[in-house]
């Protein structure tokens, strides 16, 4: 027989009318009724709940130590990753980018603003990617041709001087004692020592050993070296040879009396022998290959 806890049901007001009527006829009903009535008026003292809450919440600090380990690891690893990524991003952004062309090679590349740079043999450019569009400046050693996208001031710093432009095409050649700048489009400002020269399309300027050299206006649209030609204007023979050394990755030395005549002319750099022939005929020299990379130029007389 299933037990019927009818008193529980009655206390909870769950009895049917009939069950309730039956219960009311029993002798104990009145007592149960009193128990029900009076027990509903019982109470327990209040206490200071908000003090307790403050006390409990003040335990928050201890809380962090009881977080399961894996959660701590996870949080730590995540934090380390985020920090590492952040640092590497900043470093990458502020790191100096280097582009170079070895002797005998040329390199073309784009700057972050899509300005195009072509490096001539044996040249190097350093710049920072960070905030490039607002700080377009780079360091050049050697020779490079620039096609600058429109934007903020674009600066090329060389050991000898600074070239400042907006959007334009120009060539900079920075050698030991000589700086050559040619403008092919737009305007180029050249700062050399305390002098400032503004070049317009077709104009070139050179500074050698501290003094400017006049260069005749030209109507070429880009530097000749892009097309494997070296154009020299009133250049010392040593500098011409240095250029050839760079272009062919060789070592040419002159074994003769000092050659003081400046060289003006174009030397194709497709073929070393052809290039040497031009030089030897101008200076009355004879070339002798010591080995694949070493060439000596001698005066014709001494050979006899």
């Amino acid at each position: 027989m299933e037990e019927n806890y009818f008193l529980a049901k009655w206390l909870n007001n769950e009895l049917t009318e009939k069950e309730l009527a039956d219960f009311k006829t029993t002798a104990d009903f009145e007592k149960y009724e009193k128990i029900k009535k009076h027990s509903s008026h019982l109470e327990v003292d209040d206490f200071n709940e908000s003090n307790m809450l403050q006390e409990i919440i003040s335990h928050k600090k201890a809380n962090q130590q009881t977080i399961p380990l894996y959660k701590k690891w996870f949080v730590q690893i995540a934090a380390i990753l985020v920090i590492a990524l952040g640092i590497s991003f900043v470093l990458q952004q502020s790191a100096t980018e280097t582009e170079f062309a070895l002797n005998g090679k040329k390199t073309s590349f784009s700057l972050p603003d899509n300005s195009k740079v072509t490096l001539n043999s044996g040249s190097e450019i350093n710049y920072k990617k960070r905030d490039w569009s607002n700080h377009r400046n780079l360091e050049l050693s050697g020779e490079a041709y620039f096609k600058v996208a429109k934007g903020k001031t674009f600066e090329v710093s060389t050991a000898l001087g600074k070239i400042t432009v907006l959007g334009t095409q120009f060539n900079v050649k920075s050698r030991k004692n000589r700086l050559d700048v040619s403008c092919y489009e737009g305007r180029v400002k050249v700062n050399y020592n305390n002098q400032e020269v503004v070049l317009t399309k077709g104009k070139s300027i050179a500074f050698a050993d501290g003094s400017p050299i006049e260069i005749p206006e030209s109507d070429v649209i880009e530097p000749e070296w892009l097309n494997k030609e070296l154009v020299f204007k009133k250049e010392k023979i040593d500098n011409v040879l240095s250029e050839l050394n760079r272009q062919f990755d060789v070592e040419i030395t002159v074994n003769s009396k000092p050659l003081n005549q400046l060289f003006t002319g174009t030397i194709p750099v497709n073929n070393l022998d052809q290039s040497l022939q031009i030089l030897t005929s101008v200076y009355h020299l004879k070339s002798r290959k010591v080995n694949r990379n070493k060439i000596i130029l001698e005066t014709v007389d001494t050979q006899k």
């Binding site: 104990d28 019982l42 109470e43 977080i67």
Partner: protein, 170 residues
């Protein structure tokens, strides 16, 4: 940042605390008869919940604190009789139209009821007082004591029979 678990939110936690602190304290008082101990144990249970708020979802918090309370234990010495009292304004209402003899009888009955409750064994007393004082449903009591509703009804039934007998004896 990972989302903070709800239980760790001070507002949600405080809300939960306010709803549950008195019934829990009362439950522990019905169990041990000692108000200070009941309050201490209540505080401990909530501190545990707060410390582990990251791992206890708010919907599990109630069963969490009652599990702690159920597993709690006190020294024998700390067990006392559960001394209750009636609401202050309760007796006033009853005295209006009744004769002095009836009032006296009522008063005597009420005292007997208190005594009878004190003498109840805790298995019956706890659910009985949870129902009468805290106004909990049988289903709630069953959940908190981790027993079936049928078992709650049985205990309530027996408690009433026990109380009626005790009152007669006293």
């Amino acid at each position: 940042m990972p989302l903070m678990p709800e239980t760790c939110d001070k507002i949600i936690f405080s809300d939960f605390f306010k709803k549950n602190v008195k019934p829990l304290r009362n439950f522990l008082f019905y169990k041990y008869g000692n108000k200070e101990s009941a309050e201490d144990l209540t505080q401990e249970a909530f501190i545990k919940l707060w410390k582990n708020c990251a791992t206890v979802p708010i919907e599990k918090a109630k069963s969490y604190i009652y599990t702690i309370a159920n597993n709690s234990s006190l020294n024998e010495i700390s067990h006392q009789k559960v001394v209750l009292k009636y609401e202050k304004n309760h007796s006033v209402n009853d005295t209006t139209n009744e004769n002095p003899e009836f009032i006296l009888e009522e008063k005597q009955f009420k005292n007997k009821l208190l005594k009878a409750i004190e003498n109840l064994n805790s298995t019956q007393r706890i659910p009985f007082l949870m129902h009468r004082i805290d106004g909990k449903k049988y289903s709630e009591i069953a959940e908190e004591l981790n027993i079936s509703v049928k078992a709650v009804e049985k205990r309530m039934h027996k408690a009433l029979i026990e109380l009626r007998k005790e009152i007669d004896v006293i």
